[in-house]
Symmetry: C2
Subunit: 408 residues, 2 copies
């Protein structure tokens, strides 16, 4: 290990190179978006009707076009009748489910607003989930995330509290650690007793088809398991095409029990007269079946896997011997999760920023932006070019070594 002076020199040299790089957000690269440019010409002015004769240009059709729900029901393993389409953002559907529960209650409980309610937050997790809770004053309880999913003993313990009404889950290629929930974990979450009858799993299956290796993970069917366990309304499933087609112009999906679908449609029907059916037909034409989706995702993988490989091999090379520094090797999704020695994450992010490498703020992966160990850093390698990913990761490694050395 180099001494502090040598590391400071190295860091100064890094600063002198004048980097301007950004590893903050999980955005597709332009080359990935190019894969879906055909959407910009679709559906074409001859395409006015859906399969059932619906004029796609007019109002209505609250649940979404049947043919699109059939395709994505197949992809997601959810019957088309249990899917509802939304606009360009599954986050908006999650937000609106929280809002509906707050203001009008769920299928099996009164309005959450006015109650003192809590959500379980496996962490490290997704900052935008936590931001919804924070905005609406929902207390967040951190639950450790293991390699198989949330710590079930902790979850079980908290579910004895009737004020625990929800839990954020990214069950597959989790943001940011990349882990997937084991079949046992899904089964337990679907079945375990909860003091609140209106407890909900906010099941954000954001990376359902976003594989990075040939070992394509399948997760257990939470809707079926919950129904079999007598908790049919427990899971709210979410997905979207944002990281499949065009990030700002995709389709989002809600999946749930028949009762939850009816509940959500009751809410959506007061908010809007229907979704953008032209964009739905556009998507149905572009990716006409589950095989087309899978083939399309392989092309995404060809673009982003080299970036993940680059980050991992540079981390191996630069930090493999650094005590207390570990990182994940995701089999899918959009992130690598880096753990540095306790108390160092904030300093690493600060050093990186001052050297022109923008990282997600330390703490962002925890409720209230507060990583109690100040240890976790989320890396998002998809958007920058391969060269920039490499330069940013080498720069990051310098910052990690210096931060660790400063604390030693």
């Amino acid at each position: 290990m180099k001494d502090l002076t040598a590391l400071r020199d190295e860091y100064q040299q890094l600063q002198a190179t004048g980097l301007k790089l950004d590893l903050t957000r999980g955005k597709p690269a332009p080359a990935q978006l190019d894969l879906s440019n055909a959407l910009l010409d679709l559906p074409g002015s001859a395409e006015l009707k859906a399969a059932d004769g619906t004029d796609i240009r007019n109002y209505g059709g609250l649940q979404g076009l049947a043919e699109l729900r059939a395709i994505w029901g197949d992809v997601l393993g959810i019957p088309a009748g249990q899917l509802v389409t939304g606009g360009n953002s599954s986050l908006a559907l999650m937000h609106d489910c929280v809002v509906a529960a707050l203001l009008t209650g769920t299928t099996d409980g009164p309005a959450w607003a006015g109650q003192s309610i809590k959500f379980l937050c496996p962490a490290p997790g997704y900052d935008r989930h936590f931001a919804i809770c924070e905005r609406f004053g929902i207390e967040m309880i951190t639950v450790p995330l293991t390699d198989d999913g949330p710590d079930l003993d902790e979850v079980r313990r908290h579910l004895a509290d009737p004020q625990v009404k929800g839990m954020w889950c990214v069950p597959k290629y989790s943001n940011p650690t990349g882990i997937s929930y084991s079949a046992e974990t899904v089964a337990e979450l679907a079945a375990m007793p909860a003091a609140a009858p209106d407890f909900r799993l906010f099941w954000d299956n954001a990376y359902a088809v976003h594989h990075l290796t040939d070992d394509e993970v399948e997760i257990a069917d939470v809707l079926k398991l919950a129904a079999n366990a007598g908790n049919p309304d427990r899971p709210f499933v979410f997905a979207s095409t944002s990281k499949i087609t065009l990030a700002g112009s995709g389709i989002s999906f809600f999946g749930g029990s028949a009762a939850n679908v009816k509940w959500l449609l009751g809410h959506l029907g007061k908010r809007t007269i229907g979704p953008d059916k032209v964009n739905e037909l556009r998507h149905a034409r572009f990716l006409p079946d589950a095989d087309a989706v899978r083939a399309h995702m392989r092309r995404h993988r060809e673009i982003i896997q080299p970036k993940f490989d680059a980050v991992l091999s540079i981390l191996d090379e630069e930090l493999g011997d650094e005590k207390g520094v570990t990182w994940t090797r995701p089999a899918g999704g959009y992130f690598i999760s880096l753990d540095v020695p306790d108390g160092c994450a904030r300093r690493v992010v600060e050093l990186a920023a001052e050297a022109g490498v923008k990282l997600t703020p330390a703490g962002a992966t925890f409720p209230y932006g507060d990583d109690p160990a100040d240890r976790n850093i989320r890396l998002a390698p998809t958007f920058p070019t391969l060269d920039d990913v490499e330069a940013a990761t080498r720069g990051l490694a310098v910052c990690v070594r210096l931060a660790v050395s400063e604390r030693a």
Copy 2:
């Protein structure tokens, strides 16, 4: 006037013709949607960037594309910086403003949820506005709508109540009466004292450019008048392209003070990462300036004005002598409002339904679906063909005469 037996015979003949017609909703006709079919090919796969270089395909850009806001700011008379774009539904923006105020408060007041709050509802009015209030338990107070807008004495009286937090307004070519607010009315609503500092005008300018005559109505600038009166945050202005381009696939707009724009973006930013910028650029290419919008709306008028004319001339002919039956002659918008003698509206709608002419449920134009005089019926002539509009109106006239005669 025919006797009851003759009218019953006439009604039976009507039933025997086996009509299946629908005058219920304000939907554009297919021929109107055809005017915008070019959108189905746009923006084209060569169009990847906005004027400022933003990749329209990726995440971000919460306020909406600057070039689209410039065009529609010009159309709506609102500075582009004070506009925010939304998805395909301005109703959703209205809903979300109510939700944000309920759960987190406004720029000048705490959360409405937990308070006992009230909205003023000029009536006859738009049922979907009222449905939002009803869903969230907001008490609705009916205010009579005159030919110049809401009865200002009534509004003034109610604004002395600090629990009155909102008021629904369709200031131009009002749904369903077609009236437009006079300049004095707008100025008064912008300036009049309100006990609640967080009182909001929900200013649904749904028919801003939807003229039916050469006398194109201009309404006063509520944002400017409110700002000048020291109430800059009072108006929330809404508009959309739903009845301009494609009804299910348009763009919605929010206009407000700088503080309200910041407030709304704070809310939207927790809900989504940005709007559908591809659809925004698509719209900016299709209708590149305010003149193009105006020319486009003249083509709409060519299609729908004959339908309005047909309804009006048949009503003149068939019901001109019927005591206590009156209707509006709108200069724009999507509706004709028919008043029948007190206590007859429900019966007219029932008779029409049994003769195969579907009308908007009687009462729908009033809060809680309850027209206390049982008098008002909303007619929506845009969607059916001209022949169907004529047949439906003649059938309606038979039903009106029979219902009136039954009660006599």
